[in-house]
């Protein structure tokens, strides 16, 4: 990836963060002709070139599936997500010991400080929100109303989908609006059986996951050197084929093509500089994480896309006489309303039969069961909103030997044959906005660059806990209804808010500056040349995976920003 050296420290726009939304903001703004500086706090990762574990064979990882004590100590938070920082990913996940945070109440904060951020490692599930998702807060009197509706975002969804490339099945369901799709990935035999049983017995919908992996690349993707998914299912290590979308494989290369992009790494934004005279933000002050050198960069507009928690932290740390409690924080809502999605609750079962069915290729995708609770005539009696399930069926491999009695020649040779089919589903539940779920800056404790540490003070509330129970019970019911055996539910008690890695809500959009931070175009109410378009902007959480919505909001805000610049409104 070429880095263009800008002679001056003045740009048309500064984008803070190079991940899912920062990358997209950079693409949009550079394509509209702006000179853009992207500031990334982590190290540089080059697309393909730096995916150093992507093509390694399983035996090339010395500890295989085991987590080292060193990683467990250094990546103490990241490893709460299924011991994620093993030999293949450790060096891409943030060293939590060097980048600590504080937990007044536990928060599972998963971070990847490098070019592309978590977009390199994301789950790639991509769903549009439905109309209700934007209206429910107002109808139910929860939190505040969204300042936009589905129709405001619909054309931007389409715009993003055509660039990103989403594979999926058009279904024409109100609860899960269709995207612009590339062909769906196939279900396997037991999954097709399950899908039919669910519709027949429970009237419940099942579709193949909608995922940002290419199945039939279109010119927009091909022109960036991206090709079809190869069904290796090692996406999190980076894909040398550009088979899945990330900021690295898509937005940043597109932005570089314009010749308008400069990106700097190892550069931590300490604060956004507010100009009292113009009543606008004039730039950012950064600390080089390697040299501790302090630099300032200036621009007409700033896109703040540091990831919901760091985005809020930067606002809170940007204090001035106008904003003593943090930039744009007149409402005291910056850092509040922390949301995520429920994770770690569901059920598994084994399937009898289908022993002559097998699959070639490792599908990096699952089935999706859209929300059915509190939808249409279905009413849950003890919680509001709903959840979707993701999961699927696969044949057991050699690791089933751990659960079997015996050893020796016959045992070994049996394990080289496919085992029975197993199936499982986990819920992704909507968490409600609650101002007491929050993060803030510690008044005393600082990191090694002198920036205040983030303190988390959030937890599941009654609605969330009631929903968790329902998620497990319904997963069990579905698997039993399908006639599967050894159905076992689970609700992992060690899961905290954050583990869904869909953190959002800390600088929410709204109509009223008294109760929200951003307006309907993601501009900070009280400082309109700052745009926040990552998860922080979310007014509610829906239950579907959020990245597609973040990108749509980003593209829409970038379009507005450039129009406003041209009209000299900002």
């Amino acid at each position: 990836m070429e880095i263009l050296k800008n002679k001056s420290n003045r740009f048309d726009a500064i984008v803070i963060g190079s991940g899912m939304t920062g990358g997209f903001a950079a693409k949009e703004l550079t394509e509209k002709g702006l000179k853009v500086l992207v500031v990334e706090r982590g190290k540089e990762v080059k697309h393909i070139e730096d995916y150093d574990t992507a093509m390694k064979a399983p035996w090339e990882f010395p500890h295989k599936d085991k987590l080292t004590l060193r990683s467990a100590e250094e990546r103490w938070a990241n490893n709460r997500f299924n011991n994620m920082a093993k030999d293949d990913l450790e060096h891409f996940m943030t060293n939590d010991k060097e980048n600590p945070y504080l937990e007044k109440r536990p928060f599972d904060w998963i971070r990847a400080y490098h070019t592309g951020g978590k977009s390199m490692h994301w789950g790639r599930q991509s769903y549009r929100w439905n109309k209700q998702d934007f209206e429910a807060n107002a109808k139910e009197g929860i939190g505040i109303d969204w300042p936009i509706r589905y129709d405001d975002l619909a054309p931007w969804y389409t715009y993003v989908e055509k660039f990103v490339g989403i594979s999926g099945q058009a279904e024409n369901w109100d609860v899960l609006p269709d995207s612009h799709f590339q062909p769906p990935m196939p279900m396997n035999a037991p999954e097709r059986y399950f899908k039919n049983k669910m519709m027949e017995k429970l009237g419940r919908k099942v579709t193949i996951g909608r995922i940002a992996n290419l199945t039939k690349p279109e010119p927009q993707q091909l022109s960036l050197g991206r090709s079809s998914c190869q069904y290796r299912n090692k996406c999190a290590r980076g894909c040398p084929f550009g088979g899945y979308y990330s900021s690295l494989s898509g937005a940043l290369p597109a932005a570089f093509k314009t010749g308008n992009l400069t990106i700097i790494h190892d550069s931590i934004v300490q604060e956004i500089i507010y100009d009292d005279q113009t009543q606008k933000a004039k730039g950012v002050r950064i600390i080089n994480s390697l040299t501790s050198e302090v630099m300032e960069y200036y621009a007409k507009i700033i896109f703040l896309n540091a990831g919901a928690m760091n985005t809020a932290a930067i606002l809170l740390n940007s204090k001035s006489s106008r904003f003593p409690n943090g930039l744009g924080n007149d409402s005291d809502q910056v850092g509040r309303n922390v949301m995520d999605h429920q994770l770690g609750v569901g059920a598994n079962a084994t399937i009898e039969g289908f022993l002559d069915d097998y699959v070639i290729g490792s599908r990096p995708n699952a089935l999706y069961i859209p929300r059915f609770r509190n939808w249409g005539s279905d009413k849950a009696n003890n919680f509001s909103r709903g959840y979707g399930y993701q999961g699927g069926a696969s044949r057991k491999g050699w690791s089933r030997g751990n659960g079997l009695t015996g050893f020796g020649a016959e045992f070994k040779d049996d394990l080289t044959q496919p085992g029975e089919w197993t199936i499982g589903f986990g819920g992704f539940g909507e968490i409600l906005p609650d101002s007491s779920n929050r993060m803030y800056l510690d008044p005393v404790k600082k990191d090694k660059w002198g920036i205040p540490l983030i303190v988390f003070d959030a937890a599941f509330k009654d609605n969330d806990l009631a929903m968790r129970k329902d998620i497990m019970e319904n997963a069990i019911e579905m698997l039993e209804t399908a006639g599967f055996k050894q159905v076992v539910g689970y609700d992992r008690k060690e899961v905290h808010i954050g583990l869904g890695i869909h953190e959002m809500g800390t600088a929410r959009m709204g109509l009223d500056p008294k109760s929200s931070v951003l307006n309907k175009f993601n501009q900070v109410h009280s400082c309109k040349n700052i745009f926040v378009t990552d998860g922080a902007a979310m007014t509610s959480a829906s239950c579907v995976n959020p990245s597609l919505t973040y990108m749509a909001l980003t593209a829409r805000a970038a379009d507005h920003a450039v129009k406003e610049l041209k009209n000299k409104m900002i």
Binding site: M55, A57, P58, W59, P62, H63, K64, D65, K66, L67, T68, L69, R70, M185, P186, N188, A189, C229, Q230, Y231, R232, N233, K234, L355, D356, D357, Y358, V359, I360, G361, S362, R363, G397, W398, S399, G401, N402, T405, G406, F407, G408, A409, F411, K412, D413, L415, T416, Q417, P418
Partner: protein, 182 residues
């Protein structure tokens, strides 16, 4: 020999001295143990390492595919013990090996060795209070499977290794096919 009889027989063997040829083999091995040279934190002693090699081969012996020894499973386990296991877990494993050393496991016949491992497994299942409670036998078996089926020898001999499948296709399983590893 019936299994019960074998276990009974094995238990009467306890206390026998280790044979001279075995001791000699141990000494030889100590000198030859060169893998991961320079790495300081490997965990097992030379004697324990030889014993572990035999145990892994009993769990996954050479059949029409290579066994655990050829896949160097003991080396993997030693590395994992050193780098991945807590002191408490390390001690459970070390004590388990020590117990077999004290019983002169390597001086037993193959039949006796197999019987003793079956007895270990029976005890492990019987004494397990929590589903995820670890003991020596579970660690040994789990690490042996991971070390073998995650090794180049194991993967290439047992499975159809396809690092880049390039397609996703539902097919019928037919005899003679190999499971695919990715």
């Amino acid at each position: 020999m019936k299994r019960r009889t074998a276990i009974k027989y094995v238990s009467t063997m306890l206390g026998l001295a280790i044979s001279a040829p075995t001791l000699s083999a141990l000494d030889k091995f100590s000198e030859k143990r060169l893998y991961n040279k320079g790495q300081k934190n490997l965990f097992l002693t030379a004697e324990q390492f030889i014993l572990l090699g035999e145990l892994t081969e009993l769990i996954l012996p050479k059949t029409k595919t290579p066994g655990a020894k050829e896949a160097k499973v003991a080396e993997f386990i030693d590395l994992v013990l050193a780098d991945c296991y807590t002191v408490k877990e390390k001690n459970i494993f070390r004590d388990g090996l020590q117990n077999l050393q004290d019983r002169h496991f390597l001086s037993f016949s193959l039949t006796e060795q197999i019987a003793l491992l079956h007895a270990l497994e029976d005890d492990s299942i019987k004494n397990r209070k929590l589903f995820n409670e670890i003991d020596f036998w579970r660690m040994l078996k789990e690490l042996t499977l991971l070390g073998y089926f995650g090794s180049e020898v194991g993967i290439k001999s047992c499975f159809d290794y396809r690092p880049v499948p390039g397609k996703l296709e539902n097919v019928k399983w037919e005899s003679g096919m190999k499971m695919i590893a990715y």
